[in-house]
Symmetry: C2
Subunit: 244 residues, 2 copies
DNA sequence: CGCGAGTTTGAACTCGCTCAATGAATGTGG
DNA sequence: CCACATTCATTGAGCGAGTTCAAACTCGCG
């Protein structure tokens, strides 16, 4: 995989949050029109970034929060040996970069998994808008709180789910998020590699591959290359909620 | 273990953040005096809560953020079978409850591990003070950001550390936090049970117990009942930073 | 066509788990 | 104050889910 130039070098344009089809998921959710305009005023939309494009690098100065407009992004920790540990995948309407606020530097790196456009929200400007817009500040708190909840879920997953349950939960999560975006819940593209799925779920490539094979053999899913079809959503759900 | 009445029923008093010895860690860090007074005005200090006291229950309405003033608190998920999965331990100066903001309900439960006093910060009032005090709002963002970073660390720990490394990192983390509080870095009380440590680290009681025994045999630590002495901090550090 | 990255499959191993028994500490009621 | 109950911790033996190592297969691309 070849990495592109930094996304921050991409040509940018002022965002028009009012015309974006994602405001009901993204930061501006349920913001009155006037305040939406203020937010749009500080949001910069990137031009499309190819697969493998870097959004930010671990340890680089923190300047902005990023919202995915289209495509998909992975956030990961880079080990000293070059290995990547995937911390999360981000879909349209989702935001990342909050972990940089505390230390003034990004703690992890983020890269695109497919052609992606992002909205960049300069943190200083965002704080300024937040300070004058109670609703927005509240929404910002909510999003960080959501991120915390999401990570707690992941912690529980890693602590007490079997390999099969982890994969089921992962596929189910993608399914739900795609559905919410108006895409098919039962047929979508898996932009990430087996290695990335494994790293995210705390499993090896081989285990992930075997699980895909088994689930396919059992008629639960159909997976070819990077396309996935969920054939038996009920059974998949059952796997997700098994025991503790 | 017997549970006490809810902490929210505890007699409370207005806090005097100005006289607390923790403001350099807690929410008010580097806040100018005047703003500190505003914060103190909304902070309620609980009377001491005995071991096993509930601070909040999973699914209860979210009203406040809590800061530990003294003692120790665990946050945990309660399985349907009554089992607890520990998500984190909180020491004086640390804050918890952020995960409740997004959904308006606490996602997890929190209970004291020893006699503890807490500061309760009503979220609505806190937002009001934040909206008029830029520095405080920033600090609030920082604390949530820190929580996100801390959980990302935990995710990495669960994904790729051996049982021994996990325990070493855990003990080291406690050591650092106690040191920062002005206590001994190499001798402190482990208020949590082996089961709680195991649950937190994604290990079984037996494994934790065996690791304590082994580390003791190897002269790394000395552990009796709930007291811990780190005999070889250098070696412990080495374990923490081993490979990836 | 041949190369290389990514994936699949098999076989053997291992770390941490499960099950089980014992020991130590704390609390309780007579 | 002591027997008994109860909870928590320790230790051992055997097992198994997932890993490691290795080989084969697939597919896109020069």
């Amino acid at each position: 995989m070849s990495y592109q130039r930094m996304a921050s070098d991409s040509p940018v344009a002022r965002a028009s949050c009012t015309q974006c089809h994602l405001p009901e998921l993204c930061l501006p959710r349920s913001l009155p029109c006037g305040e939406l305009l203020e937010l749009a005023d500080i949001a910069l939309v990137s031009s499309p970034i190819q697969r493998g494009g870097i959004i930010f690098k671990s340890n680089s100065p923190f300047r902005a929060i990023y919202a995915i407009r289209s495509g998909m992004v992975k956030q990961y920790y880079e080990c000293s040996d070059g290995q990547q540990k995937i911390l999360g995948f981000y879909l349209p309407g989702e935001m990342l970069g909050f972990d940089g606020i505390a230390k003034g530097r990004h703690q992890y790196s983020a890269a695109t998994l497919e052609t992606t456009t992002i909205c960049e929200l300069n943190y200083e400007e965002l704080k300024w808008v937040c300070s004058r817009t109670e609703r927005l500040d509240e929404r910002f708190h909510c999003l960080m709180s959501q991120e915390i909840s999401k990570e707690n879920e992941s912690l529980l997953l890693l602590k007490s789910k079997t390999a099969e349950q982890r994969l089921a939960i992962f596929l189910n999560s993608l399914s739900c998020r795609y559905k919410q975006l108006g895409y098919s819940a039962n047929e979508f593209k898996l932009s990430m590699s087996r290695a990335e799925i494994g790293s995210y779920l705390g499993l090896t490539i081989e285990t992930v591959s075997r699980l895909f094979s088994r689930m396919q053999r059992e008629g639960l899913i159909e997976s070819h290359h990077h396309t996935l079809r969920i054939l038996d959503p009920t059974h998949l759900h059952a796997l997700c909620s098994e025991q503790c």
